[in-house]
Symmetry: C2
Subunit: 837 residues, 2 copies
Amino acid sequence: GEHRAKAERMFSLMDGFLKNDPISLQKDILHHVEYTVARSRFSFDDFEAYQALSHTIRDRLIERWHDTHIFFKRTKPKRLYFLSLEFLMGRSLSNSVINLGIQDQCAEALNQLGFEFEVVAEQEGDAALGNGGLARFSACQMDSLATLDYPAWGYGLRYEYGLFRQIIVDGFQHEQPDYWLNFGNPWEIARIHVTYEVKFYGTVEEVEMNGDKQKIWIPGETVEAVAYDNPIPGYGTRNTINLRLWAAKPSSKFDLEAYNTGDYINSVVNRQRAETISNVLYPDDRSHQGKELRLKQQYFFVSASLQDIMRRFKEEHTNFDELPEKVALHLNDTHPSLSIAEVMRMLVDEEHLNWNKAWDIVCKIFSFTTHTMVAEGLEKIPVDLLGSLLPRHLEILYEINHHFMEELKERIGLDYSRLSQMSIVEEGAVKSIRMANLSIVCSHTVNGVSKLHLETLKTKTFKDFYGLWPEKFQCKTNGVTQRRWIVVSNPSLRDLISKWLGTEAWIRDPDILSGLRDHVDNADFHLEWKMVKRINKMRLAEYIEAMSGVKVSLDAMFDVQVKRIHEYKRQLLNIFGIIHRYNCLKNMDKDSRRKVVPRVCIIGGKAAPGYEMAKKIIKLCHAVAEKINNDTDIGDLLKLVFIPDYNVSVAELVMPGADLSQHLSTAGNEASGTGNMKFLMNGCLLLATEDGSTVEIIEEIGADNLFLFGAKVDEVADLRENGVSNLAPLQNASPLKVPLQFVRILRMVRDGYFGHKDYFKTLCDSVEAANDYYLLGTDFMSYLEAQAAADKTFVNQEKWTRMSILSVAGSGRFSSDRTIQDYAESTWKINPCRCPL
Amino acid sequence: GEHRAKAERMFSLMDGFLKNDPISLQKDILHHVEYTVARSRFSFDDFEAYQALSHTIRDRLIERWHDTHIFFKRTKPKRLYFLSLEFLMGRSLSNSVINLGIQDQCAEALNQLGFEFEVVAEQEGDAALGNGGLARFSACQMDSLATLDYPAWGYGLRYEYGLFRQIIVDGFQHEQPDYWLNFGNPWEIARIHVTYEVKFYGTVEEVEMNGDKQKIWIPGETVEAVAYDNPIPGYGTRNTINLRLWAAKPSSKFDLEAYNTGDYINSVVNRQRAETISNVLYPDDRSHQGKELRLKQQYFFVSASLQDIMRRFKEEHTNFDELPEKVALHLNDTHPSLSIAEVMRMLVDEEHLNWNKAWDIVCKIFSFTTHTMVAEGLEKIPVDLLGSLLPRHLEILYEINHHFMEELKERIGLDYSRLSQMSIVEEGAVKSIRMANLSIVCSHTVNGVSKLHLETLKTKTFKDFYGLWPEKFQCKTNGVTQRRWIVVSNPSLRDLISKWLGTEAWIRDPDILSGLRDHVDNADFHLEWKMVKRINKMRLAEYIEAMSGVKVSLDAMFDVQVKRIHEYKRQLLNIFGIIHRYNCLKNMDKDSRRKVVPRVCIIGGKAAPGYEMAKKIIKLCHAVAEKINNDTDIGDLLKLVFIPDYNVSVAELVMPGADLSQHLSTAGNEASGTGNMKFLMNGCLLLATEDGSTVEIIEEIGADNLFLFGAKVDEVADLRENGVSNLAPLQNASPLKVPLQFVRILRMVRDGYFGHKDYFKTLCDSVEAANDYYLLGTDFMSYLEAQAAADKTFVNQEKWTRMSILSVAGSGRFSSDRTIQDYAESTWKINPCRCPL
Ligand SMILES: Cc1ncc(COP(=O)(O)O)c(C=O)c1O
Ligand SMILES: Cc1ncc(COP(=O)(O)O)c(C=O)c1O
């Protein structure tokens, strides 16, 4: 009665949903200008327009977020919780208006207010809460989860400082902290009352409880986690899921000790430090070995997320037996793997389940994806560190291992070598916990991120585990979302595709892209296709000129290698190739030069701040660029530019504008790679080794449609050891595996042809003869051949365009929609749960 | 043409101003619930209602703020900039809706949504960016400046941690950091683009510039200041002025050094610490001697504010000669006095004015108020510290002093003793800058905060300066705003006053309050007056019970002493008086007890964390309370409660509910006091020494209408030295100045009657015989007599009520409106500038 009357009143006071016609949008924008941004509607600039529009969109996201949330609560589906320490979201505005289906209306609304959508959208800074591939893949997966209506939540950390900004001074990388929140973040909703205490340190005590002995943890330090919700709208659906990021905040908890040192000011300052310490993203994309701070971040994240998840479960269910039917926990690499010990602790210490029962449940809820290719990259946590920071968790880990070892002995006998290899605890100089072994033991599914990767896992990295539990091992090749990587970043291509396919359905159903094959020989299509590429090259050329002052010709082949700088990714091979090209050009007569395809070589990427070799590669790139770009004799025939501060937004600009992209990892080192897929989607041809997911791209589009080179994964070990390939012993029998060209280039660098002789010495050493772990010398000739093939093909624009079309046509398989559907069906066992309109 | 058409379009898209009828308010509240708080309109709690209502009010404040701003920009009046390191604003919601004149509409709107205004308003936390009297006075002045339409801006610091929260455990004070921003702050507008760089450290170099030698400062560290604007609405006017608070934020400035130490994570963490370090309010309300952090805060504040002020001036004017006609800078105590050196630096080093010209201007723009009574309390900054943090400023200070000394020698000759006393530089063990001397030398006006205070300044503290520049010295007795201290905090009294005065005009014109004298003998008025007091006592009694569990009788006299805990404020005298009362009661027979006026003694206040003696006073209060409150023999005849965490909101509750309030500072120690004025406004009788502004209260309401006691300011020095008063040598000739009662009570505490014998020893020592610097012993008998007089009067409720009415009737003079008008006319020379409706 009364309740109902009140509800009706509340309803009557507001219209239904916010309206999306251009006039309503303008009103909302102006309202936000005046009352949120607190400027005047008669005078606001592009950035303020961005803020106002973003808040206008935010309002709409909140509506959908809320409806989705209520719908999930009501229907109680099994939920997936995607746990990842990194999400590389980039910008949100364009993505949101596209997924909400109100892009045109927004553009018109802005237009009528005297603004341009593109310019306004460029005001947004990147949310760069991650390092590279793994982190961007997490973001793509969130987009797919939302679009495919899966009842999923993401959990992560709200670093105050995202990935450092790269600044180049005199060709050297410098790192600037990225305080991305300085200008506000309209894309998050602060949930000031959703907070949890996270505990650290302290001791473990044994108590009697109902006659049983029970361990309890008496923690020594408390930090509070507060939730920030980031709505993730799906495309073509009302579903808008949540990415919940945790921030550390000062605990309002009674904590007398901390302040009663007599020196109030210093106590507060020290405390403040403890609380904000979890707020810097670690800038290493490959390893996180044994840093206390990093461990603190991991547990802070794990503890807050699991408290939240368990609270939600317990609100709806009373029996933990139901947990595996209602909750799937996904470990995105081993960074969140402390979750396993934490859930055990919660079930055993707090919910008083017995160990075996708890373990049974835990083994049914976790799945795990490893992104690591080589055993040395696997995360280990020193026992000393863990025992001090999380004493109870260490005990639990020991107990898990004890049970596992017992079981193992029964199954494989007393094979001590294998037992010690498979043990979760690594004995040795620094006794450590092997996070991957823990994750494999406990997860019902262990996923590799490409077929090649899975094969390596089965046959090498986790051979013994595969022998034990073959059914656990699955391949889920990574993917990327065509919403961001075509629709947002390449609107011209989007229109072209839709026009020729006669539908936009590919935006939700990427397999439809294969329909482009029907038009692969259509001349009109070719013409339009080339025009789109040219438009995108123009945008990229403008950016290059603005960033580096180098003017580039649109007729040149835009050849791009953008990704984190790593020895295994072999940017050095690219640079050596460029030096080679330069040498060739210098030695050519005018006539020969006229036949040369002009090149713009574009390199971009960040080096981890402590990774000296990677930083030297960046400097070498600049040194070579300086030489080449200032050589008037060479002119437009060859340019080399380094694009600083490579991030998601730069990628969105670079990929559509690239003709050729390079993926040069020594075979067997790149677990999947996703950059290759993004270039593929943008009709850029690949020049690549047969590594990671490229192998599947070859399967999909055929080896003719990309430029392959280099040693194959099976040859690498032999090549390293013997300097010969086991596969082609006759061809490659010469003990002098390094070609003369390579040696000569190496000598040029060594001798200071590009200056900085001393500085480059160790870099040169690292690829010299027997030191050449990543086989640059070995692969060099093959690399040059592939480059020559690319040059040759580029002259034949019809062939090139055909290959480009077929690349896009084959890219559907590399949509994260496919990845996610696969995960949902065969790993997480979750079903779509579509919120009604 | 086009411009006009666009403006019309912008206009037509939104209605004019936001509407304030209850239905419009409800719609806005629900809108904010859904889209700002991101909750559902069907389910939100009191706190969320507070957030939504606050945002609704904020929208309206922004409108007015904006119009006022534009109006000032257009009319270009001379502006006052009020510089203060502390503002004790308390809560904002009630104050805002009252000043906006929409209290009833808001209450009705909430009501219809199922909420109560009072309950919702209680959700707000205090903004406690200050320590005590000085800080709350700053807040009162902002309210008066807005109400009186003055073109003024306040500048301050946005401490992330306000004044610590006081928590009592076992009777001991513990300090908890007050992270007041944890739950968001709707009352501020982040001006993310209004930022300035603030520099520290470094060196000074001499350069040639147009043939002249010029000093320039090469700073070593940069921090960024970002503006947060807090709209301050006037009452009965559209004028809404700005309180701009600065927060430190990470500088996005190119600062390679800081990050190229190789250890990126640690660099960021250290940097973060440097940036947040300015964000803790120092919890000492009386002295800030030589702490680097504090100095950093001061300069951070000064630099950001002056950059902002100068930018604004330069936008409108080109000639610095106009500065004194357009800008008044007020130094609220010496905390912002580095401004003097900073303006000199800006004019000389940056604007290239010559020294004398610059000095001439500077001397015309600064005014200064000192809140300090005793010379030892004056702020000094060690030269070493200043020279390292602000090397160029130190040079400038030396030069200012050099010129001043030269001038002084001409005027007073080579009187080295006087010269060294008046010098801005103090030689001695720690060579220091005397901030008060600096401020006096440079300011055109030096203000005391009460007549008594000014007298002391003239005759003692700044005697020599007064001799030199008598015209500079002015008295501006402090005041408090009746909007907060009656209208917000005591709505029943507000209604009663308006009813009997027949007008609400006193809310803008406090002198009208004297009209209450016409009804001072009206019996109906008395009845209603007593009823109002009883209602307020009821509220207070409920609070006391909730906080301390002690039930108190409404028939008892509520006797309150709330203020910072200080030896000079003599809470100990109060406690000794209570012990005395307890002893008397214990010794009484039943009959005599029946005639005793029951008392509820209420003490509240924070002790600076490092102030041991003050902390012992708090503990003693609890120890005595424990004894008394648990003595069933005494029952309701005497209760003692300590109200923890005294702050503005507690004051708003306590003052209306008090019958009697105590202001016990040893004469000559309290420069003004404002607590006394607030109690006065709430019809609470004062029991006080003749100190600070109490002297003027006596002038205004007559000595009969309050309970006075104790040594007068002229007697104190002699009493201290000789144990006798110079004024009454005959009466007080006994060398045994300390009465037996006092000695006995002291002995009880010493002997452990209240426990904690060892802990209280130093406290007892401090008031023993010759140590008794604050003359507790000397004043004790007189104090008891005043207490007896209060008891006696309380029995005569008619007389008491009369006195109470006359207190309120005389409180108009103590409105900050009067203070501000006085400052505006005789110090700042600014005129009202009323924004049209
Ligand atoms: C809304 C608004 N208007 C105007 C201004 C500029 O005002 P001023 O130049 O007086 O600082 C600001 C900056 O504070 C602002 O935020
Ligand atoms: C919270 C607070 N602290 C301190 C003071 C200053 O009180 P007094 O002037 O009695 O020292 C006041 C003034 O009322 C106040 O509100």
